[in-house]
């Protein structure tokens, strides 16, 4: 499916927001303003943002620990994110979630701390929509390393068996923590594993926002029409280290350089400019507006109070 101009601009803005927000969060973690560590996705913004492009608020997404892209993509604001990361009383969870961002009202579903524990849950939300006769779609996004987790296969089995409205998205960024993925993943591609369960799959350039959007739009529309699950693998690359506590050094510089050339934001901007739909002035205005939004969010989070310790006794049971 085609990426319309307005949508392209929206996704572009989101990608840039993600990049700037990640940078800012990195500073704040390093400065110990934010108590958790940060996991970033420099260079892979097109995946998380692009897959959310075709989604409605009512669709469910299970995102990742490196998930600024999908959370911004699905509609969380920097303010919502930062207040959670700061652990402040003004966050949606009043300081309970931290990096485990969640907002069910717009379809952002749990990010379990145990990688892969979302596989079963995503089957469950898709089964739920099917049983309820709703046309909501579930998107389950995960890394190529997480595809090694135990419930991966069973979730493919169930999705295929019950023809669930479930789109599997593997973000193959070529690293699993501190090692190249082939150190712990047996095959170059993950997607054919879905094929072996009878689920159609596609392997797509994850650094081209239009391709990410298009492939996802098609998979989502199939799922929405009751045609069952699909599996997408997006090839991309993590240009940053695993997390804020990781000094890095294990990614060859030349490898990084190659992927700098394929940067999804640069590519999107170049395309828009070539097509005459984006100017340098647009760019500057956008950057200023995003910077404002992020700084306002930081200020909000900084100035928000910490939660009252007495609240720990609330909501222990429903």
């Amino acid at each position: 499916m085609q990426l319309e101009d307005d949508k392209r601009k929206e996704l572009y803005r989101k990608m840039v927001t993600v990049r700037l927000l990640e940078k800012r969060v990195e500073q704040l973690v390093t400065a110990a303003r934010i108590p958790c560590s940060g996991h970033f996705g420099l260079g892979q913004e097109a995946v998380g943002v692009g897959i959310c492009g075709p989604l409605r608020y009512s669709d469910y997404i299970f995102g990742t620990h490196r998930g600024f892209a999908e959370y911004i993509g699905k509609g969380l604001t920097p303010r919502e994110i930062l207040s959670e990361y700061y652990g402040k009383a003004t966050s949606l969870s009043r300081g309970r979630l931290g990096q485990h961002l969640l907002k069910p009202e717009i379809g952002i579903m749990p990010l379990p701390s145990s990688l892969g524990s979302e596989f079963g849950m995503a089957v469950g939300t898709a089964l739920s929509t099917k049983l309820r006769g709703s046309d909501q779609v579930t998107v389950n996004l995960f890394g190529e390393g997480t595809a090694g987790q135990a419930d991966f296969g069973p979730s493919l089995e169930m999705a295929s068996l019950w023809q669930l409205p479930l789109v599997f998205v593997c973000n193959n960024n070529q690293y699993v923590e501190l090692a190249h993925y082939r150190n712990v993943v047996a095959t170059e591609d993950i997607a054919p594993r879905a094929g072996a369960y009878g689920i159609p799959y596609e392997i797509v350039d994850g650094n081209d926002i239009a391709l990410v959007y298009g492939a996802t739009a098609e998979a989502v529309s199939r799922a929405r029409q009751g045609e069952g699950p699909m599996f997408l693998e997006f090839k991309t690359y993590r240009r940053c280290t695993h997390y804020t506590g990781d000094p890095g050094g294990y990614q060859p510089q030349e490898e990084i350089e190659i992927w700098v050339q394929k940067d999804p934001i640069d590519r999107c901007r170049a395309t828009m400019m070539a097509e005459g739909m984006w100017t340098e002035a647009d760019e500057q205005a956008m950057l200023a507006s995003i910077a404002d939004e992020i700084e306002a969010a930081v200020k909000f989070a900084e100035e928000s109070p910490y939660p009252d310790p007495a609240t720990i006794y609330e909501h222990i049971y429903a």
Partner: protein, 326 residues
């Protein structure tokens, strides 16, 4: 109320009533359509395969799917064929199902039930015989039901299905075929309400699941010796009805607790700890705990029987509690 039906039938009635009442309720698990232990048999005829779902053999993803369905407005009951297999799904139950309501600050609810036949019945072997209900006391956010009679099973399961939290519902295999009185009329039993199965004044005997029946038999024997035991069935381990037990203790000053789960780290540990922490002045004697030995359950029925608490063990524990050991 003189209709006597089996535990299996009572559970099945609970399913039927709740599934009729609320279309969000559905059942999933291995062979639930045929009903491998019969609690779900025939449900598929009435409710169809969309609400009585046979799953692949994967306990973790099945419980995971129930969690996802529960978070999005349905009320799944997932059957885990043997209680032992709950460890396969421990991550989904203990780390996910029980925790998201709290950390979402109430934004999510996880109304689901894990129905799980379990326990020793002679000859099922090490991994089809354990009573693991105590493993669910430590993790937060879960409730744990351990019915001992058809009446309790039906009333508790109906409440469990209506509860907005994840509930583990243990069905002891030896109890499944047993009969008991169950009224025709609808009723519910709240989670967290103990039942005094026998009134007595000398010793408070708290017994879990199948051991309720051994406790009652032991109490009869002891009664012939002039010892009147109060047998309390907590019916749920979480929430625990401490009031009922404490009231009894204020009368008896002696506490014995018995379970078929292992003694070390079991429910009896938690109850004895509560007693010595909160009811210290009402303990005239050491608390007696009975449970299975800390070993794998051997297959040979003669060995298995030696590992789990017997009626005679209970008699002896009560006598020990009273300082009348033989």
């Amino acid at each position: 109320m003189n209709r006597r039906i089996t535990f299996i039938q009572a559970v099945r009635e609970a399913f039927q009533e709740e599934m009729r009442r609320d279309e969000r309720v559905f059942v999933m698990g291995q062979d639930v359509q045929a009903g491998i232990f019969a609690t779900t048999s025939k449900l598929v005829d009435e409710f169809g395969p969309a609400r009585v779902i046979n799953t692949p053999i994967c306990e973790s993803a099945s419980v995971g799917a129930a969690v996802g369905a529960a978070m999005t407005g349905l009320r799944p009951v997932v059957q885990i064929m043997f209680g032992d297999f709950n460890y396969l799904a421990m991550e989904m139950t203990a780390n996910q199902a029980g925790q998201w309501h709290y950390i979402s600050d109430g934004a999510l609810k996880v109304p689901m039930v894990i129905e799980t036949p379990s326990g020793a019945r002679g000859g099922a072997g090490y991994g089809h015989s354990q009573s693991l209900e105590a493993a669910f006391i430590l993790p937060p956010g879960l409730k744990v039901a351990v019915p001992a009679t058809p009446y309790d099973a039906k009333g508790l399961l109906k409440s469990a299905i209506r509860d907005d939290n994840p509930v583990l519902f243990f069905e002891h295999r030896r109890l499944l075929p047993q009969r008991g009185e169950v009224p025709e009329e609808e009723y519910l039993i709240p989670l967290g309400q103990a039942d005094i199965k026998r009134v007595g004044s000398d010793v408070t005997l708290v017994a879990v699941s199948v051991t309720v029946h051994k406790a009652l038999a032991a109490a009869e024997k002891l009664s012939q010796r002039g010892i009147e035991v109060e047998v309390i069935d907590p019916r749920t381990l979480v929430p625990l009805d401490k009031d009922t037990i404490f009231q009894s203790l204020q009368k008896t000053y002696h506490l014995v607790v018995v379970e078929e789960g292992r003694k070390r780290g079991g429910f009896g540990a938690e109850l004895a700890a509560i007693a010595v922490e909160e009811w210290f002045d009402y303990l005239d004697a050491p608390v007696q705990r009975l449970g299975t030995i800390s070993a794998a359950l051997p297959y040979s029925p003669v060995l298995e029987a030696a590992c789990i608490p017997s009626e005679e063990d209970i008699v002896q524990a009560v006598l020990r509690s009273l300082g009348q050991e033989e």
